[in-house]
Amino acid sequence: MAEMTYLQAISDGLREEMRADESVFCLGEDIGAFGGAFKVTDGFIEEFGPDRVWDTPLAENAIVGTAVGAAVEGLRPVAEMQFADFVSCGFDQLVNVAAKMHYRQGLAVPMVLRLPSGGGFGGGPFHSQNPEAWFMQAPGLKVVAPATAEDAKGLIAAAIQDPNPVCFMEHKHLYRRAKGEVPEGRYATELGKVRVARAGTDLTVIAYGAMVSVALEATDDIDGASVEVIDLRSLVPLDREGILASVRKTSKVVVLHEATRSCGVGAEVSALIAEEAFEDLDGPVVRVTAPDVPIAFSPPLERAILPQTDDVKEACRELLAY
């Protein structure tokens, strides 16, 4: 075990997979000599060469479409969007070509699309988005969102080994802030299994990505209540049983995410609970999310939009008293 940041853990997992399987390669903008906008592939070009760490022209559909072609021809591309926001420029190749390929033609597309997502650093409307729910509406895509360094490494490995296109949401706010013990060597964390970040009995907070640590901090001490925090880890496949097991135990649920509210992950999880665990509930399912607005640039505006620790604390307190 070694202590690593979330960013180092992604790099480490990616490097291990590239060492173990020469069909794995990276492509994207400025990932070579520069090492990527966030330095996830720093040093990769020296170890793996310019073919396997391919600096592409600035063209997102070209990046995604080329990855699809390389994947069906037997390689395992890991494509980087410089920011998750820019996936809108490559959306057509992702949702029309990659996502539907296996259903239509029985042809696997083993590719990973790395998507640095999330706000909290003054990135403004085009560098702060959390677009994961877009992908959940495109059947055929898997969607993964690690919250810890250990999971970041295990889930990037699992995403690379998976025979499907996987959107890997890596939260920029966690890159250098989230740190933890990370096992050495290769390991893969199964997609579609929740992690119990903290066990509890009075209320469940369901979160993923950067909001897991917000949930833990917010519920660390709410008048002595025993609050369970569930880290979804993967949004597609969604661990329905893992969610429902926690609901049955605590009977009160807050769903927390940084992405906007309508038709988001929280809406899906809330509907699942309403359909499958209505009798187990002892209060309404509560969502804490960003409202349906773009992410503003100026820090006070951004703070007003993104869910804060106090917002979560307040929502939990109200629900506990229900």
């Binding site: 020469e22 063209a59 559909n61 479409g65 080329t66 072609g69 021809e73 037997g74 390689l75």
Partner: protein
């Protein structure tokens, strides 16, 4: 560290010409394409083909001539007016008819319709409706060949309308920058649905090839041998590592965009002009004058297609209980190799 290939390299020093058998095969593939599409249109009018119907009537020389030089390990993304390329790779006409009728025996088993298919076992990746998306997929396959040091080619087809789309330019630029082993066949059939060339581009797209850093060549798309020669040269260029080629095949869409389209926006004299240049009729005359029994070829096409149609009509519709299957892959099946009927490959094998 380069990615290594599991496949041996082959020697491509020169491109031999077409044998008499090859030329007969070219005519037969064009005849089979037209006959299959005419049969499919008849099935459509009988109500057996759901949705709409699209064909490449009058454009047969483009796909047949350009796909003919491909080797078994080359890969293709085929457009909806290029049935001939599917036939050359080895797709049976019956499976195509079953595909159009949404039957379980079709190439996609009813998952997708009309010409939206590619037989993965024959090295084809099927098109999507958004054009020209498959150019970039073909770029990805070409990139894989390049990374593994393989002398293989990716070929893809697209129409004149596609040249206005951003993805066309992304693919042209990427192919040029990375010097990819790819052959890009622009099928200029004069109309993007109802919009003529004059409303699509201000510069002939073949001229753009040079601005992206590679060769562009304009060919009579109704001359199957001219298409073959241009394509064979482009394939060799790609195999040598000398990069992409854009081939503009000048032809005419002789039917509407789909069966619902009466193409009243096309001047009658333009249609008449191209009718005189029908690729099958002109090539039939040419081969007949050289002693080829053209009627015997036409007869064998009719007989094969009748049997294939019977087979297609016997195929059941897909089981609704399977509608949810296969959204995700559980294993990683690879593309297979396609048929390569050109005598060069037959002798090489």
């Amino acid at each position: 560290m380069a990615v290594t290939s599991a496949l041996p390299l082959t020697d491509h020093q020169s491109v031999p010409g077409l044998s008499r058998e090859d030329r007969t095969a070219l005519l037969r593939f064009m005849m089979m394409m037209r006959a299959t599409e005419e049969r499919a249109l008849a099935l459509y009018r009988q109500g057996k083909v759901p949705g709409s119907f699209y064909d490449g009537h009058g454009q047969e020389a483009v796909s047949v001539g350009s796909a003919f030089p491909l080797g078994p390990r080359d890969r293709v993304c085929i457009l909806h007016r290029d049935l001939g390329a599917h036939l050359i790779r080895g797709v049976k006409p019956g499976r195509i008819l079953a595909q159009m009728m949404g039957r379980a025996g079709g190439i996609t088993g009813g998952r997708d319709g009309n010409m939206h298919f590619g037989d993965k076992d024959l090295g084809c990746v099927g098109m999507v409706s958004m054009l020209p998306d498959m150019m970039l997929v073909a770029c990805g396959m070409a990139r894989a060949f390049q990374m593994r040091g393989e002398d293989r080619v990716a070929m893809t087809w697209f129409g004149d309308g596609s040249t206005a789309n951003g993805q066309w330019h992304e693919a042209m630029n990427l192919a040029g920058v990375a010097k990819l082993p790819i052959v890009l066949v622009l099928e200029n059939n004069q109309y993007a649905y109802s919009t003529p060339n004059t409303g699509e581009f201000a510069v002939d797209p073949v001229e753009r090839a040079a601005t992206y850093g590679f060769a562009g060549v304009k060919v009579d798309g109704n001359d199957v041998e001219a298409m073959f020669e241009a394509s064979a040269e482009a394939c060799e260029r790609a195999r040598r590592g000398d990069g992409p080629t854009l081939i503009e095949a000048v032809t005419m869409r002789m039917h509407g965009h789909g069966a619902h389209d009466d193409m009243k926006y096309v001047p009658a004299d333009l249609v008449e002009h191209w009718k005189q240049r029908d690729p099958i009729e002109t090539y039939s005359k040419r081969l007949a004058s050289e002693g080829v029994d053209v009627e015997a070829i036409a007869q064998s096409v009719r007989e094969e297609l009748d049997a294939e149609t019977d087979w297609a009509l016997e195929q059941p519709m897909p089981d609704p209980a399977t509608a949810l299957d296969g959204v995700f892959a559980t294993d990683d099946p690879h593309l297979g190799d396609g048929k390569a009927p050109w005598s060069y490959w037959a002798k090489a094998a």
